[in-house]
Symmetry: C2
């Protein structure tokens, strides 16, 4: 069946969450949002492109930082209301310069940092 971004289920802002997973390590890198045009752009360009809710514009991941996400596979969930982008990540995925955004773990009721920002 041909894929059409219009067949996805968007929220009342016209957005769908997209989880980015590292194709090599399997790590969950981050979660951000796409609108229908961002989904189409991601597939057309092979560069993962989100919709920035704060800037109200396309957010080609890594466009300024160089920390791009090259799309390996885009997956749709059973309810068609969530996406999983399997990516080749260049550099850290997180704006804090950490490899992943999920670097805080809750252990025995305490928050623990799992990793430090990368050097450089």
């Amino acid at each position: 069946m041909a894929f059409d971004p219009a067949t996805l289920v968007y929220d009342d802002r016209g957005l769908i969450p997209c989880i980015a997973q590292d194709a090599v390590s399997g790590d969950v890198l981050m979660m951000a949002w796409m609108n229908s045009d961002a989904v189409a752009k991601t597939l057309e360009t092979g560069r993962v492109t989100y919709w920035s809710r704060s800037r109200r514009s396309f957010w080609v991941k890594g466009e300024t930082s160089g920390h791009v996400q090259e799309l390996v596979d885009l997956r749709v969930d059973c309810d068609r209301d969530c996406l999983l982008a399997v990516v080749r990540q260049t550099g850290p995925a997180c704006h804090t310069n950490r490899r992943v955004c999920f670097y805080t773990s809750v252990v025995d009721g305490e928050e623990t940092e799992l990793m430090a920002p990368l050097a450089g």
Copy 2:
């Protein structure tokens, strides 16, 4: 620092997305929503507990199906507006009886099913 579910960033419905990842395979299993009480219950009970938007009630994953998610680690992202639950998954995670919800891949503009429902 002591973790307090009230310090997370919820949307205008009082919900935060939670990604479930298999602790063994690293597969991204599903994404669902939690409210503050569901986050607290998940940590207290060690059983991943979402908030069902359609039923407007707690959804202890696997309570009826037996396909429970035992919490291994709960992680918070950099913006505190997304959670990652690392889990030990019993049985399939998806209500379609597939191992994961993200079983549809977009390849060359076509949708392709990556896995069939489990037997039984």
